[in-house]
Amino acid sequence: MPNLKEVKSRIVSVISTQQITKAMKMVAAAKLRRAQDNIIQMRPYAQKLDGVLRNVTAGLDPEDGSKFNVEREVNRVLLIIVTSDRGLCGAFNSNINKATLALIEEKYAYIHKRGDLDILPLGKKGYDFFRKRKYKMVTDFWNVFSDLSFFEATKAADFAMKKFEEGEYDRVDIIYNEFKNVATQIVRKEPYLPIPPSDDDLGVESDYIFQPDKEKIVREIVPKSLKIQLYKSILESNAAEQGARMTAMDKATENAGELLKELRISYNRTRQAAITTEINEIVAGAQALG
């Protein structure tokens, strides 16, 4: 029979844990709404930019004006991995870390062994994970979530583009959690640079007046759309994180509730047993006297 006092103190501690998980769930829900809004606000921009890009590049030799779609022999690789700053969000971060390790194993094992693979973490969890494992890293940008803005995200994109252009990296991949809905995150591994060729040539060519000229515009729009792509991944990941945390905390609250139920039953049973023993003793005592 468990000790009455022990059970009581366990109940108290489970209750306070439950309160914390409940509060965290609520906070995550509020943040999720904001994060979701951010993505929704950004989608029209990304969409329009894509449309403009397609209109501009229609009829233009894709090799012109942009050096970001040049396929080279892959000697050095950069992986951009988007995780979160905080834990307690289920398998959110470990999914990314595992996917990254799997990707390295599968595609870049040789390059990694040679020491030509760098990791650019965005978010503290990925940074910690790969630092502990002594991977080569670019650590200037991992803190992007402390002040999440387009400007901050752009810095990492600029870095990747510059290094790609200089030939420092021949391939840049990006790994992040996509926000599908509150309960579902999808781990995405996408090539970032060189820009994968698009499948559809359905660009509607209009007789545009170009200012200053077509090539300059391509040269401006292509990097911009790359920045947007990275920013979008970060926003997706941010929303997915809040969703993951919300579900994880919801589950935790539920589990705490179940545990609490069991503990209460055990508490009552123990208490009842103690009362029964006491009554038995009194009755036995009275009988002995009578």
Partner: protein
Amino acid sequence: MHLEIYTPEKTLFDGEVNSVTFPGTDGSFQVLNNHAPLISTLKKGTVTYKGKDEEADVEITGGVVEVLNNTVTVLAEGTLEE
């Protein structure tokens, strides 16, 4: 004509206007109704649009504008106004 101004963070304006003035990379220019299709890059400066009875400025930090079929789409990199 229809004017839409987007930044990566939000939609700044979406509505009917009579004229818009842009800070083009090659110099400031104005777009009126039924303008020919145009794509231009923008530099840091002020976009001024005039509606029926309103007139407003938006400070942008650069971007691109597309004019097509009486729809003007501004993709600004960012904005300076609060």
